[in-house]
């Protein structure tokens, strides 16, 4: 959307783009899976495309690696149109969601595959494979092992090593970590980030988890319904989500349906309560007020001043490792989500009366009209 083009246009000081999309469409029948996308991916950056399933991110990456052709528009690699260059002729490669390791080949043979295809001699193939295995912390003894004997994390590393053996200019990832458990995923996310820095290659990563995107990326593009709704650094996305979709997508948030009120306030349409909010346009006719759980605080002294103050009862408490989450019931119908660090845990939580508060600057207004497209 406007945010997307605006962002890329303003990035004049950034490194030159390696991959550019110019009005790219992909139609399946009448349905646009990818809808008029323009995007620049910069040399050497870690760019993550994030979106829910069906948002068009997989369709897009298939076009970027050359397995599908765009219906309209151009894809440029270093300024050269590559729409019609098949995947095997492009200097890019992808780590698949399923990893697509060859079950009839050993770890070593898998890693050496792109080199074998290129006709590299067996000895130098093996040398390179062992080098990559060392880089990815795969024991040398795994060279002759069958891939089915490897654990989930080891298989990830083999797939990555195979892709690196290809020595691509851009490395694509199609949700390769989605099948792993949380802990392993966290470890591999960081490793991936390290490898990105070590190799200096351009990484384009696809995921449905904004959290994953936040950890690794230089820039994130949030996709919905075939379009980018926001492109920016993790900080920009987190701190200043451009739409309610983005903020919702980022994780659990408090959303209140509001209408215009007097003196720049907004009126909660469910309870009639009035809130202070960031400045709104005169034309504002209603929309969503979004507040992050960690931006809401508990007031020790109910009399302390605050822009927005509500009284409620703690309904539930969840321990999330280093953080604690509370569900606070306000009135009969509203439940607010509040998140605190462990050190800030309430003494007697469940059933206790509390006062919650937030500042106007910590909330975001998304007028309804912006979603009516």
């Amino acid at each position: 959307m406007t945010a997307a083009t605006g962002d890329t246009a303003s990035a004049s000081s950034a490194p030159p783009p390696i991959l550019q999309l110019r009005g790219v469409d992909k139609l399946f029948g009448e349905f646009p899976a990818v809808d008029r996308i323009s995007l620049d991916i910069r040399e050497g950056e870690f760019f993550t495309i994030v979106g829910p399933s069906g948002s068009g991110k997989t369709t897009m990456v298939r076009m970027l690696v050359g397995m599908d052709k765009p219906t309209n528009g151009d894809i440029l690699l270093r300024g050269e149109r590559i729409n019609d260059v098949p995947a095997n002729k492009r200097p890019t490669c992808m780590v698949f969601q399923s990893l697509a390791l060859f079950p009839h080949r050993s770890v070593g043979q898998n890693i050496e595959f792109p080199l074998k295809i290129r006709g590299v001699k067996a000895a130098s193939r093996k040398e390179r494979a062992l080098e990559l295995m060392a880089q990815l912390r795969l024991p040398e003894s795994y060279y002759g092992k069958g891939v089915s004997q490897c654990s989930g994390g080891e298989r990830q590393r083999v797939a990555l090593a195979r892709a690196l053996a290809f020595d691509p200019e851009i490395l694509f990832f199609d949700e390769p970590l989605s099948a792993l458990d949380y802990k392993l995923r966290k470890i591999l996310e960081k490793e991936l980030k390290d490898i990105h820095r070590e190799t200096g290659k351009t990484f384009v990563y696809i995921t449905h988890s904004l959290e994953e995107a936040m950890v690794m990326s230089d820039r994130i593009g949030v996709m919905n319904k075939g379009r980018f709704v926001q492109i920016g650094t993790p900080n920009e996305i987190y701190g200043n989500p451009s739409t309610r979709f983005v903020s919702e997508f980022m994780g659990e948030v408090n959303i209140l349906e509001v209408g215009p009120g007097p003196d720049g306030t907004v009126i909660d349409q469910a309870t009639g309560a009035s809130y202070h909010a960031p400045p709104i346009a005169d034309s504002f006719a209603g929309g969503s007020l979004v507040i992050r759980p960690e931006d809401i605080r508990f007031l020790d002294d109910t009399a302390s001043p605050a822009a927005n103050k509500l009284e409620g009862v703690v309904y539930n408490e969840y321990l999330l490792g280093s953080r604690v989450q509370y569900q606070v019931r306000v009135g009969d119908a509203q439940v607010f989500l509040v998140e605190k660090l462990r050190e800030q845990q309430l003494a007697s939580a469940r059933g206790g009366r509390v006062t919650i508060a937030w500042d106007a600057k910590d909330s975001t207004i998304f007028p309804t009209a912006r979603f009516a497209s």
């Binding site: 690696v65 050359g66 397995m67 098949p86 995947a87 095997n88 490669c93 992808m94 698949f96 969601q97 399923s98 697509a100 060859f102 079950p103 009839h104 050993s106 595959f113 792109p114 074998k116 295809i117 290129r118 002759g144 092992k145 069958g146 891939v147 089915s148 004997q149 195979r162 892709a163 290809f166």
Partner: protein, 311 residues
Amino acid sequence: MTDASVRISHVAAGHSRVSRAEPWQVRLGTALSKPGFLAALPVGILLLAGFVGPLALVFLFAFMPPQTFSVLQAPTLANFRTIFSDSYYLSFLASLQLAASTVAILLVICYPLAIAMVRVFTRKAGILALVLAAPLFVADNLRLMGWMLFLVKGGVVSGTMQTYLGIPVDSMLYTFSATLFGLVYINLPMMLFPMILGVSMVPAQMREAAFDLGASRWQVMKEVDIPLAMPGIMIGALITFILAAGAITEAKVLGGTAVVMIAQDIQKEFTFAQNWPKGSALSMLMIVLAGSLALAMFKRVDLDAIFGRKG
């Protein structure tokens, strides 16, 4: 039910701990009381009676004196001696040559066909499969008779050529090639269907990954497609090989006995020659020959490695 079987297995376990001291009758009784053994019994008996029984009989007959009709005689190697001193190697060679050629031709024909059915006609593959399987509902010899009428001089092919193109065509029957054609035609579904299964076992992403890593179409086929479809291909090849090696009708109806296949020699020994022992000896030799060839073939292609079950 569960309780009972648990108790039984406990009892069995108790016995087996002291089984060295038990008389064999007790041990047998223990084995018989296991539910697994009882459950497997009906199938076991069926296999024994229907499969092993006749084979055992053929085996015994192979060592009986020639031209006799009882297995209760002193065994002899006379049949094998006669076979080796005679020209039966010609029939064995002909059968193996025809079977190998049939397999080779069918591999080349069926692989693209299987690919097309799995990847191109995905929706219509069912109809195509039905069309290809439909001839199986008609007996082999009737279909071959149909081909005979098609290929014979004055038949459909030569008649058409003569009438409409003025090209005189002689009979296309009664040659080695006609026999081979018949074998290829009859065995096509036997190769095709296992191969379709094999081809459809290859995940699309595996091929895409290879392609993405720079492999050409040909390299993708060589490095990924064929190795991963190998179980289906091997099973198809094995079935076709065994069926073709044991074929008889094709050589008689289309081949005009230009080539004598071993099955025909065996049949003759059992019927016109009234020599069951020699027929049995020939059968045993064929079983051993075809069996060891099949084993050798399977040894070369390690199925476990293909299925990724070992390193």
